[in-house]
Each structure stands twice: as structure tokens, then as C-alpha cells.
Symmetry: C2
Subunit: 189 residues, 2 copies
């Protein structure tokens, strides 16, 4: 009688499922194509929110059990009501969460146990760009500084490698550092 | 006796304050320099969260009344527990909210009244990038499609101009389409 193999989990990541996914994608590359989507609704002034309901992947449509609602506002210094995070720190959150998850998944696949990860992200923005006061100043972030603090029983070199597993694989890091083509259409509501 | 001028608000945006801000930045350009920041904490597996506590701008530090907590997880198909939006749609939310707010602020400054804005954002991601299965396939989004639906009493040309006020001024749109330098350091916790 065959013995069922116990699934291996490390750092909370189902490593055996991760390897099964890799095998499945190798066998059927089309299942690797994903589409992520949101819907946004303007409320008033600086306030709007997005709804994350479903995604397409592995040739299927997946609905989240409950749609996620992501809010946006601006701080009062930027003429908002300060009821939610504004878009630019939310971009930092997308980057931080993607780097962290990429790091944890790829470290787990390599059998590296991680005890703790904390990080800080800070970006510089000169409002003269947004306000059209100087064409030399970009509208977006001029630069972002990231610092990771990691607890793991590994050498110093290995610690740096863990971080590179994040920067080397993160979809948001790649999107943000290398840029993404964005096509925009508009119609009357 | 001087009559106090009534502040003008359009689309929920305090337009008179917006013009005061522009005048203040013209007089003292250093107040345009902002720093946005977050702190991220890994929880387990695919779960982590960021905290948005404060920002620096106009040579001052501003604390949010309550720190905003932004969650991250992965859908079950990506080995998560599906408790929160994952990083890649969160990136779309950052883009959507920034485009919408940029559009509303700049349209308001031009005296254009907007009744309603809805939008959808969809991005293509091929998991073979993240899984290191094909070096030709990027880790990040291959492309993002945006569709705005706007209700405003304006001509068709003017409707397209409103959208261009978004793409032409949004810090997240500029960051994502043109890329941002990100520096990463790591130390032991």
C-alpha cells in the first residue's frame, strides 16, 4: 500500500504545493497566464475606493470569498479628509507586500527558515511636479528607499541572498523599477 | 470693512485652498518636498501588513489621526488564505485611486464639474516569470488596461481631456509607467 506523502510547509508556505504548481506550469504553460483586476468608484473630492472581486488564472475565474474593498483619501495637508491612506503610500504597501511574499515563497522553496521580517519604505515626491510648477520635476516618486530587517539562522551572505530572492522575483518590484505599459480609454457614463 | 472671500469648493475639492497651496509653493519651493512612508510586518506565509503612520511635507511631520493598516494575502490558487487583496491588484488600486484623484483635483482647478467617475483596471501577469521558468518572461505586469467611464456636462473632446488631466499629473501613473529607482538594504533583526 502506498503511503501518502505528508505535505511540507515552511514559513507558512505549502512548499509541496509550490513544487506541484511549478510542475503543472512546466507541463501546461498556459495555466501561468493570470489577469488581476479591480473596479474603482470615485466618491467625492479626494475619496474613492476599489473593489477586488475576482481574478483569472490557470484558465479559470476565481472569486474571492468576500470582495476586498480598498479605500483612498488624502491627508488634510493635501486637501483630503484623512480617512484612508493616500495612493502614494499605498503604492509602497504594494511594493512591500510583494517583496516580502516573494522573499518568503522563494526562501521556503530553498528550505530556508525565516523567523521574522520587518521593513520600512520611504519615497520622495516633489509636489511641484503634480502642480505643474516645474517641467523638470517629475510627477512621480524620485526614489524609494527600502530597509529590511530579517531574523533567520543564516550567515550574513545568506541574509543578503534572502533579500535578493525578493527583488529578483517580485512582480511589483519589477513593474515599478522597470515600468509597465498602461493603456487608457475613456467613455461617457 | 473687508469682506472675507467664501472658499470655493468644486467636486468636493477646496479649489481656493488648492490655489493657495500653489501660491505658497511658488513663494517657498522647499515646502513641495514630501516623504511618504510605511512600515511592513510579515505575519506568516503569504500574509503581511503595512502601517501608514505619518508623512513629511511642507517642512513638517504630519501624523494620521489613526494609523492606517493595509493588509496583504494571496488567493488560494497562489497558496494563500485569501484573507486580503494580494499585492498585484493593490498596485492597480494605487494606480486607480491616484489617477482618479489627480483627474478630480485638476478638473476642479479648471472649473470642470464632474458628476461621476467609475473605472476598471486589468493587468496581465505570466507566472513563469515569478517561478523562474523562462528568463524571457518578465516577473512584473506585461501590460495594464484602464477604462474610465465619466459623467460630466462637457463635450466628447473635453471628456478625453479630463482623463489626460489624470494621466498627465498622477504621481503613481508616472512612477509606474516610467519606473522609479528603488534602493534596498538589509540587516539582521
Amino acid at each position: 500500500m502506498a503511503t501518502a506523502q505528508k505535505p511540507i510547509t515552511l514559513n507558512g508556505v505549502a512548499v509541496s504545493e509550490l513544487f506541484s504548481t511549478i510542475d503543472a506550469v512546466k507541463a501546461t504553460p498556459s495555466i501561468a497566464k493570470f489577469k488581476f483586476r479591480i473596479r474603482n468608484q470615485w466618491e467625492d473630492g479626494s475619496r474613492n475606493h476599489s473593489t477586488v472581486t475576482s481574478l483569472t488564472g490557470a484558465n479559470q475565474e476565481f472569486s474571492h470569498p468576500v470582495p476586498f474593498r480598498l479605500e483612498a483619501d488624502e491627508p488634510t495637508i493635501l486637501l483630503g479628509k484623512d480617512m484612508a491612506a493616500n495612493p502614494v503610500p499605498t503604492l509602497l504597501h504594494a511594493l512591500a507586500s510583494c517583496l516580502t511574499t516573494s522573499m518568503v515563497y522563494h526562501a521556503s522553496a530553498r528550505g530556508i527558515q525565516i523567523n521574522q521580517i520587518e521593513s520600512t519604505f520611504e519615497g520622495d515626491l516633489d509636489l511641484r511636479g503634480f502642480l505643474n510648477l516645474d517641467p523638470q520635476i517629475r510627477k512621480g516618486y524620485q526614489g524609494i528607499r527600502v530597509n529590511f530587517r530579517i531574523s533567520a539562522d543564516v550567515s550574513d551572505d545568506r541574509l543578503q541572498e534572502i533579500v535578493q530572492l525578493g527583488t529578483g522575483h517580485s512582480p511589483v518590484y519589477d513593474s515599478l523599477t522597470n515600468g509597465v505599459p498602461v493603456s487608457v480609454t475613456a467613455e461617457r457614463l
